[in-house]
């Protein structure tokens, strides 16, 4: 055997360890992809085909009938207007909640990291503590407070709840991001004569785009997926999509319409799904930013 003179790129060999890693990765991917596959194919089949029981098989004659039904005429209890009502409710809850909670978090983070308010660390500590207390503890007191103040069961109520519960995470996120910006920038702006709001709006906020994107992803997915707050605080008129989905799946007359259930679920999952696909890289970055820095 003649020794090969090493030159150029080092040759890579497929080792047993490497095969093991790939096998594990593929299994893990299948584990998470299979349910999605089944849901999509089932939602595209008519009930006759579903009854045959080949849940993994492709539909022989794909139809969007179940999707249309789920969107506009499936029954959520007594009414039969489909999940579209819930979709628009969710959008109406989502937009003000996301905008307000991010704004509040950014202002909080800015004040905490640049203005060195007296007792800032204590306040931040208390806020963080809030993030670790289970939500269920707050439900009853909040219901009492809101019904006493007369905002219970309204859009305002559910938006307020989302803003309040988003505050610890949003503040943490922005505070950590701002802690990484050079303090000298803030000093320069103060010498230039900027006040609290001018410096925030003209200097700090324009630099916050990455964190605003990350915070939006977190809040959009979090608020869209929320069930218990929506059920508790939104009131009958404003029930979000998740609650209506639950109603569709659980109010069946006669045969269970699996294809409609699957289509409705896919419709409800669409927004977070799109957000994840479009912004996967940013999402990971946001989690890292929130978790690593203290």
């Amino acid at each position: 055997m003649s020794a090969v003179e090493p030159h150029g790129r080092r040759p890579r060999h497929l080792t047993i360890g490497r095969i093991g890693i790939y096998a594990f990765l593929i299994t893990a991917a299948l584990f998470f992809l299979l349910p999605l596959w089944i849901m999509i194919v089932t939602s595209l089949k008519p009930m006759d085909e579903i009854r045959l029981g080949n849940i993994v098989a492709l539909p022989t004659a794909p139809t969007f009938e179940a999707w249309t039904k789920a969107w506009s005429s499936a029954c959520t209890g007594l009414e039969c207007n489909g999940i579209s009502v819930g979709f628009w409710n969710s959008v109406r809850i989502l937009i003000p909640s996301v905008v307000l909670s991010i704004a509040a978090g950014a202002i909080n983070g800015y004040a905490l990291s640049f203005w060195r308010v007296k007792g800032a660390n204590l306040m931040f500590g208390i806020l963080l503590l809030g993030a670790f207390i289970p939500y269920q503890v707050f439900l009853y007191p909040l219901v009492r407070i809101f019904s006493m103040t007369g905002v219970y069961n309204s859009l305002l109520c559910i938006v307020l709840v989302h803003v309040i519960f988003g505050l610890p995470t949003m503040t943490l996120l922005f505070r950590n991001y701002y802690a990484g910006l050079p303090l000298e920038l803030f000093k320069a702006a103060r010498i230039d004569g900027g006040g609290f709001w001018t410096i925030f709006l003209r200097v700090i906020l324009p630099m916050s785009t990455p964190m605003i994107v990350v915070a939006s992803i977190l809040q959009v997915t979090g608020i869209w997926n929320d069930f218990i707050f929506g059920l508790t605080f939104a009131g009958r008129e404003n029930l979000p999509m998740t609650v209506q989905l639950n109603n569709i799946v659980h109010s069946t007359q006669g045969e269970r319409a699996y294809n409609v259930d699957m289509a409705a679920t896919m419709l409800a999952a669409l927004v977070p799904l799109v957000v994840y696909f479009v912004s996967g890289r940013w999402f990971v970055r946001g989690i890292a930013a929130g978790a690593v820095k203290g």
């Binding site: 050079p182 320069a188 003209r202």
Partner: protein
């Protein structure tokens, strides 16, 4: 009337006192350099003057006005930072006009001042770029420009050249000095840990260590007559040679004695009267030692030679300790060669071994 006056100022973070009753007067048009190692409090002092940091007690006066409680923008100051601190989302022009806009200056006046400052700093062609499209040197020029348009009476520099490479640092150093000369009556307070910057730029240097003023004086005074061992060792490169010894009285006057090395001190200008037998440290700058045929101290041998082009540093020892000598770059020196050193008494410094103070 002094341009900036720090009167008995104490700065404290929680229980930790950074300064305890520090006072400093800076004349109008003066270039003052605050020099010291990191952690000596020089930046804290600058921030206190700027109003970016509240003082716990004492007063700060700028231009004859007590500004202790005033906001940074109302103090008539401009500041340049080590990290440039340019607003990243604004163009150079917007960066330079931001402060004036905040002060509601008329548009035509803003344009005039920005134009003028840009001309002066030769950054006119960069006005529409964003900071991330500029090199380090250009960024710091813009930062200086941003300070310039404020038309301030006092300029504060916080290690403005420390982030630049050696060549750019030298260029901008000269430019800052030229700027000071051209602006005439503008007072500059400049913080640095680089003794070359301090020596080249300053009218007066304030040497700080551990939050205490060690010496205030012209670069020449600081260099030739350092007030204590710290100043002597901090300023000057290569470092001053320190030789431990004692004072002995003899018929012709006091004499410095360290082992075999002796040095008559008849021509030395004492600050305080030395006691015979007193333990002292003799400080001699490398360039004040001479390689002589009939020198003061014989018996040295060359250890190492460091050629630096224009001059060279020769490390030599006589078994009692190593001494650096600075000499012409053209001299031939080979390690191992015996050597005799000549000492110029007029140029040495003597410090008390006990207190480190000059005697």
């Amino acid at each position: 009337m002094s341009a900036v006056s720090v009167r008995d100022v104490t700065v404290a973070f929680e229980a930790f006192r950074v300064f305890d009753g520090l006072s400093l007067d800076i004349e109008e048009g003066e270039f003052i350099v605050l020099l010291g190692p990191s952690g000596c409090g020089k930046s804290t002092l600058l921030n206190a003057i700027a109003g970016l940091l509240d003082v716990s007690s004492g007063q700060i006066w700028i231009g004859g006005r007590n500004v202790t409680w005033e906001e940074p923008k109302d103090r008539g100051i401009a500041m340049v930072f080590q990290s440039y601190a340019l607003y990243p989302r604004m163009s150079v022009r917007q960066n330079m006009s931001f402060g004036l806009k905040m002060a509601k200056t008329p548009k035509a006046e803003i344009a005039r001042r920005v134009h003028q400052a840009a001309e002066l700093l030769q950054i006119s062609h960069l006005l529409d770029r964003r900071p991330d499209q500029l090199s380090g040197g250009q960024r710091q020029r813009v930062a200086i420009g941003r300070a310039l348009v404020r038309d301030a009476a006092v300029f504060l520099f916080d290690e403005p050249l420390s982030n630049l490479d050696a060549k750019l640092r030298n260029e901008l150093r000269v430019e800052i000095k030229r700027l000071h000369a051209r602006l005439g009556k503008t007072t500059m307070v400049y913080v640095t840990h680089d003794q070359i910057e301090a020596m080249t730029l300053a009218d007066r240097i304030v040497v700080l260590k551990e939050q205490k003023v060690q010496q205030i004086g012209s670069p020449d005074e600081i260099y030739r007559r350092p007030a204590n061992l710290f100043v002597a060792g901090f300023v000057g490169s290569p470092q001053m040679n320190f030789i431990k010894g004692r004072i002995e009285g003899s018929g012709t006057g006091p004499e410095f004695v360290s082992g075999q090395r002796r040095l008559p001190l008849a021509e030395y200008r004492f600050v305080s009267k030395p006691r015979p037998g007193q333990q002292v440290v003799l400080g001699v700058r490398p360039e004040h030692l001479e390689i002589a045929e009939a020198g003061t101290w014989p018996g040295f041998k060359i250890d190492i030679v460091e050629p630096m082009g224009a001059d060279m540093v020769i490390w030599c020892s006589d078994g009692e300790g190593s001494i650096q000598v600075r000499t012409h770059g053209s001299r031939r020196a080979t390690p191992g060669t015996p050597l005799t050193l000549g000492v110029d008494v007029g140029q040495v410094s003597l410090f008390s071994a006990e207190t480190g103070e000059r005697i």
